[in-house]
Symmetry: C5
Subunit: 90 residues, 5 copies
């Protein structure tokens, strides 16, 4: 899993029936110092996250399907938590 | 998932029986600003997308199989939506 | 699998029900010489590892689910061992 | 999936029983302009491809297993088609 | 799959029960010319490989589990063959 920030939403009227009813979030993976790390990713929301939230991003088909509670979803990434704090030891 | 643009088609007469009847699209992943991001990828179409469409690309074997509705397909990527809009917060 | 060091913990009160009860570790993959290799990753703990431990990191949804003993967990990485020694031949 | 060219074969007498009877191809992923893209990969053949063929490469454990028609094969990549043409729109 | 060389072993007394009884090898992926390619990886042995052997490395959770003959193993990489020869066409 990675730390990411929700930066937007995606609208797709015509989509696979296996995605219907799912909210698609645009998320930016972050480094520990909060700076952007790599490219943005599209992920299914499973915790009612919103733009600006710092979230827990899972990137694996089987895991993302479990996050949605649908073994048949056509997804490869999901937001599975909203992060309160990251505690590191210096 | 990633944002991508359909840039072509692939023709393969001799292919695995698990791929027969599937349309193969050549897609170019895109950055948020619409510029190319990384190399082109081949993906199975599941939403009748065409060249020029901006699409939602899933890259995972299990997810791509679900997109086709065939748990037995020999695929690792699929086009699962046609994107209407990407809404970002500045 | 990779060698990594536990460098912190993550707190997320609001998370997917498929993650509840799991301890989330922040781990830094390491090179053979013990230096950092790439970015930090979040992983579920399955061996009661703590900050400072050098651990065995698995990065695959199906494998991480098995590490937790829950085929339905929404995870893509897990700490599955605490490393005693790495023996290399020069 | 990716476009690749078959550049050789691999001989391994001592191998896992889950690989027996399979032909192992050495393939070079290609860019759209036909130049090499990244490192060579080893893939199981499922379409009787030969050296010099331009092929369709799938890289995912579940998909490669389906290509072989064996859900129990210990493989993560397979050649699933021989490419006739790639049609791109300029 | 990739070509790799076994360069060491890993000792981990405290590990997940799903890994018990498994030998963990440290392997270095190789390019076609035999030079190192990328970082070392930890893989489960399934063919009794030893340090110095040139091996066939599979990197996928489902494939590695099949290599071990245990669908429940918490692994994402396995050594599945010892390479005799790589035949390339110049």
């Amino acid at each position: 899993m990675m730390i990411a920030r929700v930066v937007g939403n995606l609208v797709a009227t015509r989509k696979n029936v296996k995605l219907e009813g799912s909210k698609l979030l645009l998320v930016q993976p972050l480094g520990l110092d909060g700076t952007d790390r790599g490219a943005t990713v599209l992920a299914i929301d499973s915790v009612d996250a919103g733009v600006g939230d710092r979230v827990l991003l899972v990137q694996d088909g089987k895991a993302a399907q479990q996050a949605l509670g649908k073994g048949t979803a056509a997804v490869d990434a999901a937001v599975v938590g909203v992060i309160d704090a990251v505690e590191t030891v210096p």
